[in-house]
């Protein structure tokens, strides 16, 4: 063999050895899990995905926190706080021993700085509108946006140095304006006074939410620069990576590799470190639903936080078999006051699953609803006649959907059927309306009242002039599950109401864009609540809301919502919101709810402890514990 053969082989072997040495696997962690998907951002002000918030809850701590079993507010960085009688001013007293993971003290200025970031349009914070509750927040955000437009005009023809000088000038001006007009005042390092635009009874709940968590200013600041083209400050993405990221919560970030893994270790400076159950948490990224289940089955992970495989309904049936066999004992344990998890743990010991049974898949109600949108505009986008502008037609179509059949036979997941948007029992003190159920006869009657009847006996409905009901076009994203549901609904409407339907399947992103443009007749929709107040759902129907895909607009409803915003008495406010809710789900029905979302977890009840089952379904990684 000559050099010709040996050289490439040597090269190959060398490369392989090099790659393997460089690419060491992670050591095992106390808790290993698969998140709902890859984390998009670890910058609390810019995150908007559930999986991001799950990690944020482990890395950062806000002024207050919620107990994820009861959803009551408990102290976080703030030890105590007080609210003024008019509900507009909150004074927070920060604890002395709240520390960043580098030992710095967490101060009121840290919060003021982080929230200011969110209210600068430059940061493009996805949840900036939550900060509009703060006095002057909205006005400032709009003012700065306008100032940046002004920059484009003024800076035209300037060279780069002059542009940067102008941008800096404007930024200084904006910062000064912010200090003067926005109601966030760090009185001293341990006192923060927050003034609100309107009394917001759920403000503390918001403050426990991801976007209100603080960032470490000295870490973030070096990554900002002024952009000569737009005059805005821009942020470079580097600071959220280990070991740079400084956090103030239970954990510090030690590894984060895109689409591979994310590892956190106990933050020694965290004031409440005694409450942190696991020393290390490893989150591995697994894209494929099958592989994720195999990873659980072979013991690679302790918790799978979303089961997406096609055979999940069969797995649920195996669980049901196990529960049926142990029904009496399970009820006995629950009657003794044991929680679901405690009961399952005892059952796992007393009666392990037999062949064809399983006890490690768990279906929990989530804080969300799967629904259909009716376009509520006067005409469709192309100027065509829109039958769904009429509430009677919307109600009729709602009555013609057999939701129980959908969850039993289409999704086969037995989700709780939804006649309302807000999952019942998820918000303390709120008693939602009943909504509209399955009643095709009444549906047909309402259609007739709206002028749609089968006048010529062909089985299809027409208006008084004999024109048939327009073909109902159903828009949905190109995903098998959504398609099956759309087919089932189209079939029910055709059969129960005498209309024709057409399916319009589109790639997910394309479909989302069409929703935003209100370019549809009927479409599939979905919503998860962000905070513990009915407005997180009801706001969807407000005129001009950025998530009002239906383009629904009703001055009476808007007025009710405005009234609720101004109402000081929390009891009275809830009554107003209940009225608004009833109007939407009993009368107006711009949204046709199908079922409340269920999230499927996989974990061994004898091994993983402290999984929350509250309908808000938030898991704190630092509370979870694997029993070895």
């Amino acid at each position: 063999m000559g050099m010709r053969t040996i050289l490439p082989i040597l090269l190959l072997v060398g490369l392989l050895i090099g790659a393997v040495i460089l690419d060491r696997p992670q050591p095992p962690a106390d808790l290993t899990f698969i998140n709902r998907g890859e984390v998009h951002s670890l910058d609390p002000q810019r995150m908007s995905w559930l999986q991001d918030f799950r990690i944020a809850d482990a890395l950062y701590e806000g002024l207050v926190n919620y107990d994820n079993d009861t959803f009551e507010i408990v102290p976080g960085v703030a030890e105590t706080w007080s609210v003024s009688p008019d509900g507009l001013t909150y004074t927070f007293h920060l604890r002395e021993n709240a520390k960043w993971s580098n030992g710095d003290t967490v101060t009121a200025q840290d919060f003021a700085y982080s929230w200011r970031r969110a209210l600068f349009p430059d940061t493009v914070a996805g949840y900036a509108d939550l900060f509009f509750k703060i006095k002057g927040g909205r006005a400032f955000f709009d003012w700065r946006a306008k100032q940046l437009q002004e920059f484009a005009v003024q800076a035209a023809g300037m060279d780069e140095t002059a542009r940067l000088r102008l941008a800096q000038q404007m930024l200084d001006e904006a910062q000064q304006r912010y200090e003067e007009t926005v109601g966030v005042d760090p009185v001293d390092p341990r006192t923060l006074v927050v003034t609100l635009e309107v009394p917001t009874p759920y403000m503390l709940d918001l403050l426990a939410f991801g976007p209100f968590k603080p960032v470490h200013r000295p870490t973030v600041e070096p990554y900002l620069h002024l952009d000569a083209a737009s005059g805005a400050f821009r942020q470079h993405y580097g600071w959220t990576k280990p070991p740079l990221l400084i956090s103030n919560g239970p954990y510090v970030l030690t590894v984060w590799r895109y689409m591979r893994d994310l590892r956190m270790e106990r933050n020694p400076y965290y004031w409440n470190s005694a409450a942190v159950k696991s020393d290390s948490v490893l989150c591995i990224a697994v894209e494929d639903a099958n592989t994720a289940v195999l990873a659980y089955e072979t013991g690679t992970i302790d918790w799978l936080s979303d089961v997406g495989v096609d055979y999940r309904a069969d797995m649920l049936a195996q669980k049901q078999k196990y529960m049926d066999r142990n029904a009496v004992r399970y009820q006995e344990l629950r009657d003794q006051g044991k929680s679901y998890n405690e009961a399952m743990e005892i059952l796992a010991r007393e009666s392990p699953p037999q062949a064809g049974e399983r006890n490690d898949i768990h279906a929990f109600a989530a804080y969300g609803t799967y629904f259909y949108n009716f376009n509520c505009q006067q005409t469709l986008n192309g100027g065509e006649f829109n039958p769904f502008k009429d509430a009677r037609v919307r109600r009729a179509f709602a009555r013609a959907v057999d939701k129980q059949a959908i969850v039993d036979r289409v999704t086969r997941m037995r989700q709780p059927v939804a006649n309302v948007l807000i999952p019942p029992g998820s918000i303390a003190g709120f008693e939602g309306a009943k909504g509209i159920g399955y009643d095709p006869a009444k549906g047909r009657a309402e259609l007739a009242e709206a002028g749609w009847e089968d006048r010529n006996g062909d089985g299809y409905i027409e208006d008084a002039s004999g024109k048939p009901f327009p073909t109902v076009e159903i828009l949905f994203p190109s995903v098998a599950e959504h398609k099956s549901i759309a087919q089932a609904i189209a079939n029910m409407w055709e059969r129960n109401l005498g209309v024709t339907c057409r399916l319009r399947e589109e790639e997910t992103k394309v479909q989302a864009a069409h929703l935003q443009e209100h370019d549809f007749m009927v479409s599939r929709g979905n919503w998860y609540g962000d905070y513990g107040d009915p407005t997180t759902f009801l706001d969807l129907d407000r005129t001009g809301n950025s998530n009002n895909d239906r383009n629904y607009s009703n001055p009476v409803f808007d007025e009710l919502m405005d009234r609720a915003d101004k109402e000081l008495d929390p009891e009275k406010r809830m009554r107003i919101l209940e009225e608004a809710d009833a109007m939407m789900v009993n009368e107006e029905v711009p949204i046709l709810p199908l079922y409340h979302q269920v999230t499927l977890y996989m974990y061994d009840p004898a091994k993983l402890r402290n999984v929350s089952t509250h309908p808000r379904l938030t898991q704190f990684l630092w509370e979870m514990e694997v029993v070895k």
Partner: protein
């Protein structure tokens, strides 16, 4: 030879520019808004700010500035601290396209090389066996394996291998990456279609060569059959395989979406498919540019090797 090499290398930027322009046009025309996300939609003012930040409202500005950053021109002028700046990631905003490719490409290359070695070993061996004893049961057997390798989709092979080796035999871990053992199953899955193709190429080439005059001469001189097959015939029969190796190498080393998904390999293939689904312009373009650079260079390398292996071939 050197002049040819220089000429070919000079063509590379031109080819890439064409690819970039076509990709940019297609990616820009893709329906859907890259900043649109499933679930909650930010306030319109926030959405406008997002668009403006990335020039998503100005195609020409986007085209020119991306080309400037990605080609290294900005770096040459001293306007960028990175030689090739492939831009931010729109969907996963804490990452840049450079970081993303930098993390995933080495994984795909290692996996691809192992797969290529497997493909060559399996393909050459079964091709030779088939050619030496055409029509024998061994020939039929290798033909069958090749047929399966070509026709079975890799998610079927991959899942089957996972169930046997990970679930039943507990030989490898599921969704685990980093140790040499983790390479075996995905590399094998990835190699099978290529192995099948190489086997057929080798068998045909061999059958042809074994009939030729110089082989008969060698046989007449009493050279051993093994030596004839491995030294004389294979050298000629390998040429079509070699020309196939160029694109094949580029293909296996830039990652396979399916294999990466099934075995949870953190390679480039997944990122590419996801970026298209997310309409993540910067990532789409960054990966296409990386991929095409590799493809062009591999083809060049194969041409060079060709003239090295077979001096009869004069490169033009």
């Amino acid at each position: 030879m050197t002049a040819m090499l220089i000429r070919r290398l000079l063509q590379v930027p031109l080819i890439l520019l064409v690819i970039y322009t076509v990709t940019f046009t297609l990616a820009w025309l893709l329906p859907g808004n890259p900043l649109e996300r499933e679930g909650r939609r930010p306030d319109p003012a926030v959405q406008d700010a997002m668009k403006a930040q990335y020039n998503l409202d100005k195609p020409v500005t986007f085209y020119v500035s991306y080309l400037d950053q990605a080609s290294g021109l900005a770096w040459l002028r001293g306007d960028s601290d990175k030689v090739f700046n492939l831009g931010p990631c729109l969907q996963y905003q804490d990452w840049s396209t450079n970081e993303l490719i930098g993390g995933a490409l080495p994984v795909s290359i290692v996996l691809g090389m192992v797969a290529l070695v497997f493909a060559l070993a399996i393909g050459l061996a079964s091709g030779i066996v088939g050619a030496v004893r055409p029509g024998s049961w061994m020939d039929v057997a290798t033909l069958l394996v090749a047929l399966l390798g070509i026709s079975l989709p890799s998610f079927v092979i991959g899942t089957a291998l996972l169930i046997v080796f990970a679930v039943w035999l507990d030989f490898v871990h599921v969704a685990h990456w980093g140790s040499p053992r983790d390479l075996l199953l995905p590399a094998l899955t990835l190699s099978l279609p290529f192995a099948a193709y190489i086997a057929r190429l080798t068998r045909l080439g061999m059958l042809d060569v074994l009939q030729s005059d110089f082989i008969r001469t060698a046989r007449a001189k009493g050279v051993s059959e093994t030596r004839i097959v491995l030294r004389h015939a294979l050298k000629v029969a390998f040429l079509p395989v070699l020309s196939y190796l160029g694109p094949a190498a580029a293909y296996v080393m830039t990652g396979s979406f399916v294999v990466e998904k099934v075995f949870n390999v953190p390679g480039l293939g997944q990122h590419f498919v996801n970026s298209v689904l997310n309409k993540d312009l910067f990532v789409i373009m960054g990966i296409v540019l990386t991929y095409s650079t590799m493809l062009v260079l591999f083809n060049l390398a194969v041409d060079v090797m060709y003239s090295w292996v077979d001096p009869r071939i004069e490169l033009a």
